[in-house]
Symmetry: C2
């Protein structure tokens, strides 16, 4: 597996000084040319000739030392889940169009990694930051904000910071999802809730309680289980739910992973959706359309979230002086009705063994 490299000795990249020398003009003139200012046409040609000949590429760091503008957007999330990777893809795409790129950091819910990530962003002078709100991040984010770095929080909140925010109507969407189950006759509706330390985890669960309260359906605490967003924990939780004396007839899963965990156990128990159990998922994926009769799901407006984030960032970046108050945008979610929910008539099918 050997290849002849044949390459010339690796050479230090040419600098603006080299360009100026070859073009026979002053450094400042080259700099002005590079930054799109007017240059005498004769000089322009000389400079372009020199750049092409040398293969010159500007050193963005050296420029950043003066301008404090790196064109790099920090992006920090716990993991690249379906949802976050969708956001990242859209964000990356849109940033590309405005000459920026996204520096991606996954902290895996490890507090030390959160700190290290933000330190990395700070030392590398990202000129803006997009992140999923994380309590441990508060201090360091505050530091960035004070140095004038625009920050946008999305998905989870991180209260007490003067930054922009983009959320979805978690509570309203959850309310509608659970409300749908109640409205088609279910009274025994369980919820696989996300981690309650998270804003979204709490909001979605609030939506569940709201829907019950609005219809005066009593809360059964056995039906409320926190599964920490994870597939395996949801799987275990489902087993406990189905072992109840009165197992639920409907289920609301607060994210994609937990839906998968639930479906896994449902398959293991050979239960039928929606005959034995109706199910609604928060978060949608293409395969939910195809899974048996389809999984009813709440869809988050991923692209719109990314677009909103971009708008907020560019707004701050282009008006660095205007200390406009921070804004919060909250977007609606759709709920797509598919075959995983059916009217409950009381004529139960089989339940857990």
């Amino acid at each position: 597996m050997i290849e002849a490299t044949g390459s010339a000795e690796q050479t230090r990249p040419p600098t603006i000084v080299d360009v100026a020398r070859v073009a026979g003009v002053a450094i400042g003139t080259v700099s002005r040319y590079l930054n799109g200012q007017t240059v005498r046409s004769g000089n322009r040609d000389q400079i372009e000739e020199a750049i092409g000949q040398l293969g010159y590429q500007r050193n963005a760091f050296a420029a950043a030392m003066k301008t404090d503008l790196t064109g790099i957007v920090g992006f920090m999330v716990p993991s690249l889940s379906e949802f976050h990777s969708g956001i990242l893809e859209h964000l990356s795409r849109k940033m590309r169009a405005v000459g920026r790129a996204v520096l991606c950091y996954c902290h895996d819910d490890d507090p030390r990694s959160v700190q290290e990530g933000l330190d990395f962003f700070a030392t590398h002078r990202v000129d803006s930051l997009v992140m999923d709100g994380e309590p441990e991040a508060a201090d360091r984010v505050r530091g960035l904000v004070q140095h004038g770095t625009p920050v946008v929080l999305y998905d989870n909140d991180l209260p007490g910071l003067a930054v922009d925010r983009v959320f979805v109507e978690n509570r309203a969407a959850a309310n509608r999802a659970v409300g749908h189950l109640l409205d088609i006759g279910h009274s025994r509706v369980a919820v696989l809730a996300g981690n309650q330390k998270n804003f979204t985890g709490r909001e979605r669960l609030k939506g569940y309680f709201e829907a019950l309260a609005e219809r005066e359906v009593p809360v059964n605490r056995d039906y409320v289980v926190e599964s920490n967003w994870k597939e395996v924990e949801a799987h275990a939780a489902m087993r406990r739910l189905l072992a109840l004396e009165e197992p639920p007839t409907a289920l609301f899963c607060c994210n994609y992973n937990m839906t998968v965990g639930a479906l896994d156990l449902i398959k293991e128990y050979k239960l039928s959706v929606p005959h034995d159990l109706s199910i609604v998922s928060f978060d949608d994926v293409p395969l939910f359309r195809l899974y048996e009769a389809g999984i009813t799901a709440v869809t988050q407006p991923v692209e719109q979230i990314a677009e909103t984030i971009l708008g907020m960032l560019l707004n701050r970046l282009n008006n660095r002086t205007s200390h406009a108050p921070s804004a919060t945008v909250t977007l609606d979610c759709d709920i797509v009705l598919r075959g995983s929910t059916r009217r409950w008539t009381g004529s139960a099918g089989k339940t857990a063994q």
Copy 2:
């Protein structure tokens, strides 16, 4: 939605000079302290005190100007598909552990974006590059290599470059997948092939032909359709396949998206998997385990790919002088047998209407 900012005027971050002044020592001493060299213990305390008091954070760019080491890894892929986002997540995680971060660029198969992305990497002096091989990238990547930037290609090849590579045994895995279908009695096996401009697209299709040839099954050109990796094109292609006079009894889909497209039409036509059609997917996702009787799938060793990439990069980064010849690692894929494939006995069920 107004918040009192109450923050002090945004201030330029403190520099090493400030630290030196407050600590009452020379700049050089602070620099040496920062880089872990020995400093008189008294001075060390003063410096640490000053750093804490000022909230000093090193400017990595200024340092990079001297060292040419930014700690940023360029990462370029066409899109953040299931596969690529998995790679990115693992890579990001592993890079975190060695104090680096990943700058993510999606080019959307747009040649100009490929160029711009590589230019961005070059101007920002990423000190290594990981990318899905892309023909349009050849020249610019060559430029990076000549300046001594370690590059690792994965997924698709980009021939003629002296760089490291990590691939999977696309051909062998496809061969086994199709071979399995043939071995359980199918002779009418169709393939939804990826774009043939791509290395993986060609290799996986070669595996298909190989499996046929090894068993002396004649090729039916009608059964070979290129669907450009996309769900919608796969959906349309499936419609044509099922309209054939002799529709296939088994199907090999060369990636996840095309499998979804195929399943979509299968659902639309109310066909049964595997009764009417056996199906194997290249690429696996959790829901494939749960879809009806399960989808038989080829799984790529995502974490192992990321680990190999990391190893290659660190190896180059830590031995910048040793001009070791470039290496290619090719990893095996597993094939997970699930319920979407069944022995073909000739007793056909219904086919397309």
